[in-house]
């Protein structure tokens, strides 16, 4: 997300002489939503999801950074106590109309802690669950609905792939997520 901001600032300021990306022709979107996720073994997750995106107003490519704050998981196998994720990547918009479908790809990282598999620590005489950062990736598709001058709504789904690896058994991070939220666009 930070990188997307940096890219946006550079795109707007470093080469302001190029009409395509002059600051007044840059579109910035920021949005917030709750995101529900589906894991295998009848398990669901809930996250707080926020993003910021930057693109030229006349362009179809949007650079976007996303953050997911893990809130909770329920079901037959809630396997993480922590699973926060950050993504940055690019989206392609198929339309400039009021309803804009889009697809995107974002590499990212997951900061996660298994709730199932830990290791015995002889010093503390307890089982410890290591928090680690692992690479993830995601493909996303969705719709933006621009109803007002400043506000918009979005609905999207993404598939996340990756694996949590620490010092005990690995756990898949694969998940389908669905987000429905509101945002500002400038």
């Amino acid at each position: 997300m930070v990188l997307a901001l940096i890219l946006g600032v550079f795109a707007g300021n470093v080469n302001a002489q190029e009409n395509e990306t002059a600051p007044d022709k840059i579109k910035i979107k920021t949005a917030l939503s709750f995101s529900a996720g589906l894991l295998t073994e009848n398990t669901q997750t809930i996250q707080l999801h926020g993003y910021i995106g930057v693109r030229p107003k006349q362009g179809r490519i949007e650079l976007r950074g996303d953050g997911f704050y893990f809130v909770n998981s329920v079901g037959d196998r809630p396997r993480f106590t922590i699973n926060h994720q950050l993504y940055a990547g690019a989206f392609y918009r198929f339309s400039d109309a009021q309803i804009q479908p889009y697809v995107g790809f974002q590499p990212g990282i997951a900061y996660a802690q298994s709730s199932e598999y830990g290791r015995f620590n002889e010093a503390s005489n307890a089982v410890q669950y290591k928090k680690t950062i692992n690479p993830v990736g995601s493909v996303t598709g969705g719709l933006d609905f621009f109803a007002e001058k400043l506000f918009f709504m979005f609905i999207e789904t993404r598939y996340i792939f990756g694996k949590h690896k620490a010092d005990s058994y690995p756990v898949f991070l694969d998940e389908w997520r669905f987000s429905f939220g509101l945002g500002f666009h400038f």
Partner: protein
């Protein structure tokens, strides 16, 4: 360090005679930032790894660019442990053919590599003292292609073969009778100088942020 000027001279001579106006999407002085997702294949343990990283590219000439990258790649060693690799390095990209939106290139470079192998521990067994790690150096080379979705933005896919030079990690993934695996990290013998290789498939998203000259 002497290799770099020779490399430029060599490819400059090859390039001489081609059209000087190579591509409207690639011009000398371009600086771009990118994010990348990498898959590592056919390595020490023949298990795939997934990595995330970033890069910036500085276009030195119309036909030659440089790429400066960092990757964090993790591997699940058949459920018996974890291997983490960090790559930080640079590559030179040579564009042999004049094309438009789709641009192929040759790539070669060098990187520093940190690798760490951690055997599986459980709630009843702590094997963290068997963790091993090392720093080494590597060279990589391969082919790739940019696809320009706009004059500023491109998708890039590359395939590279990486050779690790120097001390290798002394461990073995042993298949047990029940088809499970055990990771043995052998500290009894000194690690040897050896060549370890793997293939890297990288997909990156790149955005041109400046035209420096």
């Amino acid at each position: 360090m002497r290799i770099f000027p020779l490399f430029i001279l060599f490819f400059g001579l090859i390039h001489n005679g081609m059209s000087q106006e190579l591509n409207p999407y690639l011009e000398k002085g371009d600086l771009s930032l990118g994010l990348r997702s990498t898959t590592s294949l056919f390595g020490h343990d023949n298990v795939p790894g997934l990595g995330t990283g970033g890069q910036f590219r500085l276009q030195l000439f119309d036909f030659l660019s440089t790429e400066w990258f960092a990757d964090w790649i993790t591997m699940d060693l058949q459920g018996a442990g974890t291997r983490n690799n960090a790559h930080i390095g640079w590559s030179v990209l040579f564009y042999p053919k004049k094309t438009e939106k789709f641009m192929t290139y040759l790539i070669a470079g060098h990187c520093f590599d940190y690798a760490e192998v951690t055997p599986l521990s459980t709630a009843f067994l702590d094997r963290t003292d068997e963790r091993i790690s090392r720093w080494s150096s590597a060279v990589q080379g391969g082919v790739g292609a940019h696809y320009f979705l706009s004059d500023r933005f491109n998708l890039t896919f590359s395939t590279q073969y990486m050779l690790h030079l120097g001390q290798h990690l002394d461990y073995e993934l042993i298949q047990l009778a029940d088809d499970s695996y055990y990771l043995e990290t052998d500290h009894s013998s000194a690690a040897e100088e050896a060549i370890e290789t793997h293939v890297l498939l990288t997909l990156s998203l790149n955005y041109r942020i400046a035209d420096l000259w």
